[in-house]
């Protein structure tokens, strides 16, 4: 019962306009990554699971990689997060994560290995993909889906509006983000059974 209460409290979703939950996780590169070290920079968090058909949709069509490259070119920090528990779909070790990104041509600052799900719970990450944008002041600016068409079909990508691209564009131009919250779609994050 106490465990349930704690996990529920932990699942209070970060709302745009409010400070992002801080985190310290080990990256696939071996480095220890915390939110604080990116003060002044925009950070994109991407929850991922390579076995999930919705993740495959965006990587298979190179949609995710293109977005990552554009972000990197603008000095934005892109972090993947894997909250799959050991034995569950999407769980990989550091080498596995590096190999996957090399194979897919993903361009990320690092991949956070959140096997105990603590960071996922802190952000109330629900699906893969589930996207967050945090500005240089550590404030959440976007929480939700990658785009507007919730399917696993790559043919839908050209017709969809990409929420993340739109929010980053708004932030770059000093405007308010139009859509700050959307419904994330994809596979459920494969947390450890609580």
């Amino acid at each position: 019962m106490i465990g349930t209460v704690i996990s529920l409290l932990a699942l209070a979703a970060p709302i745009p306009g409010q400070p992002a939950p801080s985190f310290t996780e080990t990256g696939a590169s071996g480095a220890t990554i915390s939110l604080d070290q990116y003060a002044g920079k925009t950070v994109v968090l991407e929850w991922t699971n390579d076995g999930c058909p919705f993740v495959k949709k965006h990587y298979g069509a190179k949609n995710m990689q293109q977005l990552q490259k554009r972000a990197a070119a603008e000095g934005i920090v892109w972090l993947q997060v894997i909250s799959s528990a050991p034995g569950k779909q999407g769980f990989v070790d550091a080498d596995g994560a590096m190999a996957l990104n090399a194979e897919r041509g993903a361009v990320v600052a690092d991949t956070l290995l959140d096997a105990d799900g603590s960071m996922g719970r802190a952000y109330a990450a629900k699906t893969t993909p589930h996207m967050f944008i945090i500005d240089g002041d550590g404030v959440v600016r976007y929480n939700g889906a990658i785009d507007t068409i919730p399917t696993a079909n790559a043919d839908d990508i050209p017709n969809a509006q990409n929420y993340v691209a739109a929010a980053l564009r708004d932030m770059k131009n000093g405007r308010e983000v139009v859509t700050t919250v959307s419904k994330p779609y994809g596979c459920s994050v494969k947390y450890a059974d609580s």
Partner: protein, 696 residues
């Protein structure tokens, strides 16, 4: 010959047209089915996507919860045909670590009403095509899709499609209902509190229509006060970012495993006075407080007393006569015999109660929508009971003897035979008494059905003990048995008189079968009576002649010949709802109609009844169908609805349980939106008049 084959092929083909070809995807089998055999111009045809999901896999409700996607249907229909919105089955919570989804497992049926245009060309075929996409998950998720087709003739008239009609009707009866409940919500200490006035009983969970409105995982604390249900919800991210002015969703109420869905549209208000301390209520989301220890003793006492009263209910009378006949034999018998007889009878009663209660609990645990007395919903059981009661009548009339003869009372052999007979009488008493739930029992049985299995069976046993108590007293108090008159020739006359009570019961049971299974069944039953009478006569002859194995074999063959056809009885497709000879039009029970009548303030009287319920028939003949009372109905403009439980009906069973009852008779009087008035189980003309005329 060729034309015959052609015709047969056409018929065969037609018979299967209402079911589209099944498409197997990775973890599901899907097909389109239609309720009717044809599309009728100007009518709405119910079709459905029927899925069989692999064990453990689930698909999603329209609000999938934390993750997941709802079903997408993209229709291609003939010109003028229009498909309506998807009618989802009631959702369930599917926990996945700290996440929770709303979805469906097993064999979900997704309903779609299709409007058939007036000018649809009769004689041609309508082709229904749909591209269906869904996400199916175990813990891993797989998007699946299928192109499904269904071809249906367009005709002036259509019948029920075998198999499909049942599945679609069951799914339709489970669709959320709009009961016109008024609901409001407000924010309180970071939570949403919804107040729903007049919510039916049951464990409640609120599923918002839109994803992200509430967090699906936290439990929803529930509190009931003065007829209003208060639910505490955890706001989801969309709610927090953009607090809505309306909160729309589905309230699912679980009452002992039976679920109903009620549509809720709550308006934001600042004026809800949220009762008491919700934190305390949060620990107990249950509704009943029946678990308190003081209450349990009271419930057992009520059960015992109810059991005693059961002896005086009309439907146990025949058995009481039977028991009286055997008690009469005991006059002057030694105490040991009397005691053995009482104990055997009690054992018969208790064992049957335990067996029936156990079966009831097991079946309900498996999801069957049944209440006490359910066994009489089977025409086979009623038919067999009719034959058994008929045989008892023949036995009392003297055509044959069971085990012993009257003269032998007192001998050891007779005591043994009498004991077995008493056990059997006890068994029969419970069997027949089951549908006659006395006023005490109606309060106790719903408790028993909701209680842990052991407590439930204990309550049923207390009822049984009550039923047997008068005879146990006979054994316990020595002087009582001694006061019984001495046996003599008068007993044979008495038994013969009692045999007519048995024949009367036989007529009643045959009438029940006629309503359940139609005229053909009465014919089968009639033949069974003749054959069993023949068997009884042969058996009696054999008893006269000593052993006579050939006669006994003949008797056995005849009784088997009598009983076997009875086991083939099935409920008729369309039971006539207790057709009334009275002038007043009675409407069949319809919850949508009831809701609209209540909304417009028209008074409604509902007669929950069944052919196998003797008390119901008594009330109908003596009170409800009299010209006097019919006149009062007409004068007050009260709508008379009949909810007929002669054959199983999940909707009616659920409605009865919402009133805290588990059986018929039940009489409800609705006057507008107020809670219904529950009338007594034994009606009097004055009581009904008083209720109907209170208005205005």
């Amino acid at each position: 010959m060729f034309r015959l084959i052609l015709a047969l092929t056409a018929v065969f083909g037609l018979a299967h047209a209402q079911t589209g070809e099944a498409v197997r995807t990775g973890h599901a089998e899907s097909r389109l089915i239609a309720e009717k055999t044809a599309a009728v111009p100007g009518e709405t045809l119910w079709v459905a996507l029927a899925q069989e999901l692999d064990e453990g896999w689930h698909v999603y409700w329209k609000n999938p919860g934390d993750s997941g996607l709802p079903l997408m249907l993209n229709w291609t229909l003939p010109r003028g045909f229009e498909a309506g919105a998807i009618g989802y089955p009631l959702p369930h919570r599917l926990p996945l670590g700290p996440l929770t989804n709303f979805g469906h497992e097993g064999s979900p049926t997704f309903l779609v009403p299709v409007t058939v245009p007036q000018d649809a060309p009769v004689g041609t075929n309508a082709e229904f095509n749909v591209f269906a996409e869904w996400l199916i998950c175990l813990d891993v998720c797989i998007p699946e899709m299928a192109q499904l087709a269904l071809s249906l003739p367009i005709a002036e008239a259509a019948g029920d499609a075998p198999g499909n009609a049942e599945r679609i009707k069951t799914a339709r009866s489970a669709l959320p209902r709009d009961l016109g409940l008024s609901a409001e919500f407000t924010d309180r200490d970071g939570a949403i509190v919804v107040a729903i006035a007049g919510a039916p009983e049951g464990d409640a969970y609120f599923y918002p229509n839109v994803q992200g409105t509430t967090e699906p995982t936290p439990p929803q604390a529930a509190l009931r006060e003065e007829g209003t249900l208060y639910l505490q919800l955890t706001p989801g991210i969309d709610y927090q970012v953009d607090p809505p002015t309306e909160l729309n969703g589905l309230l699912v109420l679980d009452m002992e495993g039976q679920e109903i869905g009620v549509e809720i549209a709550a308006a934001r208000t600042d004026a809800i006075s949220v009762p008491g301390n919700f934190a305390a209520a949060g620990a107990d989301t249950g509704t009943a407080s029946a678990g308190a220890p003081g209450n349990i003793i009271l419930i057992f006492l009520s059960a015992l007393l109810g059991g005693v009263i059961l002896n005086a209910m009309p439907c146990v009378f025949p058995i009481v006569f039977l028991k009286a006949a055997s008690v009469a034999k005991l006059g002057g018998a030694d105490r040991k015999t009397v005691q053995a007889d009482a104990v055997a009878y009690t054992a018969g009663v208790l064992l049957t109660f335990a067996a029936m209660a156990g079966l009831l609990l097991v079946l309900r645990g498996a999801g069957a929508q049944i209440g006490w007395g359910f066994h009489l919903q089977s025409p086979i059981v009623v038919g067999l009971a009719a034959v058994v009661v008929f045989l008892i009548g023949l036995n009392l009339a003297g055509l044959f003897e069971v085990g012993t003869s009257v003269q032998g009372v007192g001998s050891d052999l007779a005591a043994k035979g009498g004991t077995a007979g008493s056990f059997f009488t006890g068994l029969l008493a419970v069997f027949v008494a089951a549908p006659c739930i006395g006023p005490f029992l109606s309060a106790v049985i719903p408790y028993a059905l909701g209680a842990p299995a052991i407590a439930a069976i204990a309550v049923f046993l207390a009822i049984g003990l009550g039923l047997a108590l008068p005879y146990l007293m006979l054994a316990a108090v020595p002087d009582l048995a001694a006061k019984l008159p001495r046996p003599g020739p008068w007993m044979i006359r008495l038994k013969q008189v009692f045999s007519f009570a048995m024949f009367g019961t036989t007529v009643w049971l045959a009438w029940v079968v006629s309503i359940q299974a139609g005229p053909q069944a009465v014919l089968i039953l009639g033949i069974a009576f003749v054959l069993s009478a023949f068997a009884a006569w042969l058996f009696g002859l054999a008893q006269e002649k000593g052993t006579a194995p050939r006669l006994r074999f003949g008797a056995l063959a005849a009784i088997i010949g009598a009983l076997v056809p009875v086991t083939t009885l099935t409920t008729a497709a369309a039971p006539t709802a207790l057709a009334s000879t009275a002038a007043l039009t009675k409407e069949p029970y319809d919850e949508a109609r009831l809701a609209s009548l209540r909304a417009e303030g028209t008074p409604v009287f509902i007669d929950f009844t069944a052919a196998w319920c003797v008390t119901c028939q008594y009330n109908k003949r003596v009170v409800l169908d009299t010209p006097d009372i019919q006149g009062v109905f007409a004068d007050t403009g009260t709508v008379f609805m009949v909810a007929d439980l002669t054959n199983p009906d999940p909707v009616i069973s659920a409605a009865i349980e919402r009133q805290g009852r588990s059986g018929v008779p039940l009489y409800l009087y609705y006057n507008g939106k107020d809670d219904p008035e529950i009338l007594p189980q034994i009606l009097t003309p004055d009581r009904v008049k008083q209720t109907l005329e209170q208005r205005g």
